[in-house]
Structures are given as C-alpha cells and as structure tokens.
Symmetry: C2
Subunit: 230 residues, 2 copies
Amino acid sequence: MTILLYDLCGADDVRFSPYCWRVKLALARKGLPFEARPTPFTEIGTIAGGGHKTVPVIEDGGQIVRDSFEIALYLEAAYPDRPTLFGGDGGKGMARFVENWVKTEINPGLLRLIVVDVHEALLPVDTDYFRQSREKRFGMPLEDIQAGREERLSDVRAALEPVRHTLAQQPYLSGSEALFADYILFGSLQWARATSPFQILADDDPVTGWFERCLDLFDGLGRAQPAKAA
Amino acid sequence: MTILLYDLCGADDVRFSPYCWRVKLALARKGLPFEARPTPFTEIGTIAGGGHKTVPVIEDGGQIVRDSFEIALYLEAAYPDRPTLFGGDGGKGMARFVENWVKTEINPGLLRLIVVDVHEALLPVDTDYFRQSREKRFGMPLEDIQAGREERLSDVRAALEPVRHTLAQQPYLSGSEALFADYILFGSLQWARATSPFQILADDDPVTGWFERCLDLFDGLGRAQPAKAA
C-alpha cells in the first residue's frame, strides 16, 4: 500500500522542508511507494485527522506517525527486512547525536542565510503566518534576520568542519553508504538549495561532493526538486 | 593473553591521554585483560619496535596497532564475539563523525582551558618537549594560550549543546549503552579531570551526569584515576 506523506510545499510546488526530505529519502531507502502530498504551512492543522502542528506526518495504512526521527524509527521497526536506515542499534543512537548537531550547530545559522528567500518561495496563503512566527521568534523583521549574510557565511561553512574530516575518511557520515544520519544533513542543504539562490557551499568543498552524491540517490530523488535559480 | 597498552603518563603516575582513555574503556568493554604501561611523551619513539610518534599503541600477541580509532576497529574485528564497540556498521561510521566533532569542536577549546595545567602535570623529562611543541603550534607561550580561560569557558560549554539535547533523549551518545563514541568524548573530559583543577562542566549540566556514569563504567575504571585536586 502506498504510504502518504504530508510534504510541505511552496509556490511552484517547491518542496523545501528539511524534515520532509529526511523522510522522503528514508522511504526511498526502504523501497516503499509513497505519495508526497503537497501541504501548505497553514493547512497542517487539518491533515491526518487534525491536531498536528508540524510536518512530516505519514499515514501508513491506519498508522499515523509524526516527526522525522520518529518516522524513521517507525519505518525501521515496521519494515525490518528492507534496507536499514541506521545500520544497527549504535547507528540508531548516534543518528540522534547527528540530528541534534544539525539542530543546534547548523540549522540556526543556515536559516539566517535564507529566511527571506524561504519567505519568497512560499504560497501566498502561507506568507503572513511565516513572517509573523519567525519575526516573533527572532524579535526582528525577516529582512534583519538575513541581513549581513555574506559575513556570516564563513561561520556556517566552518561549522561543517567535522563533516569534512569525516568525508576524508569515508564516503558518507554513516560510513560506506548513506543512511538516515546523512539524510538529516542533506535535508538542511536541500532546504537551502530549493529556496535560495545564495550559494552556501564552495564548489570545491568536500561537503559539496557529498551533497551531490546524495542528490543522486534513488534515481535522483533529491535532484528532481529544481534548485532555486540565481 | 594480556594486551599491552602504552599509556601516556605524567608525574605521580597520572594517566591523562584522552586517546589512551578511549582505548582503556574499549578494552574493558571487550572484557580483555590489559596492562596499561606508563609511557612518557619522550619515550614514545622507543616503544613497540620504534617508529611511533603518538600513543595509544597496543601489542596484542604479535599484532601492533596504533591510533585509538584504528585500535577500536581492530578490537571489534579481532574479538567479534565480545560486546560491541560500535553497535553495527552504522555506528562504526557515525562514531567517525563523533570523533571528528570532538577533534574540531571540543578538543581545541578544551586544550586552551588546561594547557598550563597539563604541563604542570607532566614528568620532568617531558616538560621541555611539551612546552616547545605546543608553543610552536600556537605561536605563543603556554601561559598566553591558557590566559583568559574564564572568558572562554562558556564557549566550550556551548559547544557541548548537541550532547545535552541527545542526553535528554537517551542515556548515552550511542543510545541505551555507552559505546566507543561515548568513550571518545569521555576521554577528553577525563584529560581535563586528571590534570586540571579548573571546573569545565557545571554541576547541574546533564553532561556532568553522563560523565559521572562513564566514570563508573567497568567497576569505576575511569574513577580510579584521581581527579586533580583544586
């Protein structure tokens, strides 16, 4: 049965949610057919029976599961005979660390490089919600959050240093193949790629090579989302 | 057969090498008897047949293995029926990421909080080597490297934020039990504990709780190294 994924969408059907991208790659890794149903921010409250505040949410038969990591754990448990998302219990534990590293060390800085671009990529129905919620969180206008991004770019690039060291030793964060920990960081860079013309990574950065390989996974699932034109 | 570990030592037989601590916990996890032979910095060139520049180095029968991660990989392969150090291939890959995160985001800042204390903890035979090599690396006197540490402490504590988030979800970085990824970070904090009276972690920091649990592992293997008196 096809799994239904509620997938955040913007104008021109852009799919930019870093958390939904994690799940799309996880579903593809498991070889599970899925429908990624376009969902504006302001419709999240109505999906899957109501009561949800964020996506991704999946419906798998009668099962409703929310939160990207919870969904990955669910898929690993429900489809144990399909290719693994974690590579064992240690990988399941350490993927949590990677998730939290992305959450605290990467995503906040990355958001401040692209938040105006994300706003411009939204459906008209979502723009007021997004502006108000993000301006409340930061206590300043969207434009001020993003201002001076050229000066902050080097901080975001520097924060990726442990990834560079790891990629000098193995092709993926998870080792010889890309697993959910890779999808976590991929989602963040795909969020920027889909919404913003601002170049996050230098062309010769090893992280760029890894990201390109991730875009090619599963017959180019990630690459099928066009990059935002400069 | 008892495995021989060449273990960095200072005055009063203090064992402070973060990398040797990783290996001691790994050997204990595997349930392998070992001798941790005290080795000054300036004798490393003479151990295990010569040619080594760093410890840990282990001798296991005729096998000589160097580098803490390489040793862990060796032990996992040579003793597959003993408790795992990685929890599967995913954990093996992601432990590399944790190692590189500690290397780039934690150890450099931590060293600048304790480098004079480490120097004072050394055997007299090692003090000139240590001072000269570290002053060359930083381009300044040891005392200047450490100066102002009170102001930099908050940066080191902040860098541990992804660990705090992870410990809110599970007891160890590796999940439900401590594996090599935990030993990696443990080694760094044990390095500070063994050499410096400077308090790195706040008492109420969740990382402190995790570190205390790690000190208790294997009948208090880590705790048997006295903390540096204030």
